[in-house]
Symmetry: C2
Amino acid sequence: VLKLKLYSFWRSSCSYRVRIALAYKGLAYEYVPVHLTRDGGEQHQPAFRALNPQGYVPFLVDGDFGLSQSLAILDYLEQRFPDPALEPRDAQARARMWAFCLAIAADIQPLQNTGPVTYLTQTLAHTEEQKAAWIRHWIARGLAALEAGAGAGPYVMGAAVTLADACLVPQWYNADRWQVDTVPFPKLAAIVARCRAHPAFAAASPERQPDAPAPA
Amino acid sequence: VLKLKLYSFWRSSCSYRVRIALAYKGLAYEYVPVHLTRDGGEQHQPAFRALNPQGYVPFLVDGDFGLSQSLAILDYLEQRFPDPALEPRDAQARARMWAFCLAIAADIQPLQNTGPVTYLTQTLAHTEEQKAAWIRHWIARGLAALEAGAGAGPYVMGAAVTLADACLVPQWYNADRWQVDTVPFPKLAAIVARCRAHPAFAAASPERQPDAPAPA
């Protein structure tokens, strides 16, 4: 019986993180698209707000349990479906993995999220170019710190794929989307390339989602 | 032997979260102040960047292990010093607790952090009033969603203090600091008042830290 349901938007990097974990763990789920820009944003409609008062995707439903926040969802999936693992067993390695995830989820992504950048252009009347410069600034600053702390690979935490990789690849997608110069981040680039070759990461990619626009 | 060391700034809400957990668990630690605005920010100096390439506080040192990111630190402390507990045992309750923490740590705090608001005033030449309006907007939006999802108390997750309370109280401190109208959030206000009466929360408060300025 299919019991997992994911409210997602194809281009949402936070949704993308969760899709990677679901695919890596081989979990089937119902994909419920929530269009973040059409009609002022479907995430603001009463039906979705009743589910998630924050009005954000992703939102996971597991039977009668609903959960917001991509990192909470990732950890919940790990506890519920531990095999194959996406968290290190060692406590210090696990803590460092979360620090990496949070450096993306708390320090980069929020600043390039739809809400803040819309505030920049609408409330503060900035140009699209100023908006893009803001986004590029925070992505580049964040990736520079992660590059400085990066190990030898092949994945963020070493030999095995973890949730850190599931956070890095979607952030890198946004870096590409906003034309951030990623040449200064060769270690991260190598990890991303390796991840992208993995079928789970490929299946979770934005352009492979049901709500992605057809190729031009 | 004193082995825990916390790099902290008295007014940093992320440092404040960790101080609450340390005090609640009764853990002694060495307090290392990092002044976030003096001399362009001590967190940007080479010695601190060598420790934490992100250049943020808090940063925890446990013996020869160093860890950044307040939520990663909170979870690490919970695994390392599980008693008294600050995380629910039930997997779903624990996941909801993390979702609450992340709604603050990923959706509110990053937008009122020193870096972004300095970008608003310096790079984008906004006024202090526009900066304050931006900060108030994101705090109010975030707290409104948390109020909508809040339970009956006495604490965020019900009967027991958890890491959700350790995230809420510092965010509320910032709401007060920026004069956010908190009248629309009576459930959260009641939880905060209850927490503030707890000795651990009181001991962790900004004005009680060694680097806090003397009262005027």
